[in-house]
């Protein structure tokens, strides 16, 4: 499966798509990137006159790359993949550094388990300087 195909199967679109590129993917691991656009709507309100990427959006970026893209890859042989649905079920994330507009981030996710269509991963998000910005355990349930 090509990485472009994974992104095309994502059930998200603007303004809530937080994946630009998948660089590597295996049965156990995925690495992907996203550049936070400064015109994104949430910077208008978070914070007043001081745009910082909200933690919930960083978490969403981690989930879209680290759970959903990886899950699509793991389910690549399912014929009903194009109608796949996903529910985000668990997040336990620590935030260490801020991410500002126009920063490119890299998400790396490692599979903890994928059983009974529930994918649980340990996910890390790095900034452009390759510093760890946030990390945690995320899980989601796939319906295919």
């Amino acid at each position: 499966m090509k990485t472009e195909e994974i992104i095309a199967l994502l059930p998200y679109t603007e303004p809530f798509l937080f994946v630009n590129e998948i660089e590597e993917v295996t049965e156990q691991y995925i690495k992907g990137t996203y550049i936070f656009k400064e015109e994104s709507y949430f910077y208008k309100g978070h914070f007043k006159d001081f745009p910082v990427t909200p933690g919930v959006i960083l978490t969403e970026c981690m989930a879209q790359i680290g759970l959903v893209c990886l899950g699509i890859y793991l389910l690549r042989d399912k014929t009903s993949l194009h109608t796949m649905q996903v529910a985000f079920t668990n997040a336990d994330v620590s935030f260490l550094k801020p991410v500002y507009p126009n920063e490119k981030v890299t998400v790396i996710s490692e599979v903890d388990y994928f059983r009974f269509n529930k994918l649980k991963c340990h996910v890390k998000l790095y900034n452009q300087a390759n510093e760890l910005v946030c990390q945690g355990k995320l899980a989601g349930v796939f319906k295919v």
């Binding site: 529910a87 079920t89 059983r115 009974f116």
Partner: protein, 84 residues
């Protein structure tokens, strides 16, 4: 079928971890429905089953998780597998 109380106690201990705040371990009976009565959500039910696998050193198949709807039916599947 007689219930193995050791297995029952072990299963109760596992279920307890995933109970929501408004459900107590004392609410668990053999007839309790894990999702409808004990309010364990379907995502956490997967974790219950994975803990059951680890504790009893068994493997639960995809079609078997659906049969584990009550405490008693989960115990039945556990005892079948442990006996093998």
């Amino acid at each position: 079928m007689t219930m193995n109380t050791d297995n029952y106690d072990a299963l109760k201990k596992i279920i307890k971890i995933y109970l929501p705040e408004d459900v107590s371990v004392d609410d668990i009976t053999p007839n309790s429905h894990l999702i409808n009565e004990l309010n364990i959500n379907s995502a956490n039910l997967v974790d219950v089953v994975l803990d059951v696998e680890d504790h009893f050193d068994i493997t639960i198949e995809d079609d078997e998780i659906e049969k584990m709807d009550t405490v008693a039916s989960a115990l039945e599947i556990i005892s079948q597998k442990v006996a093998k």
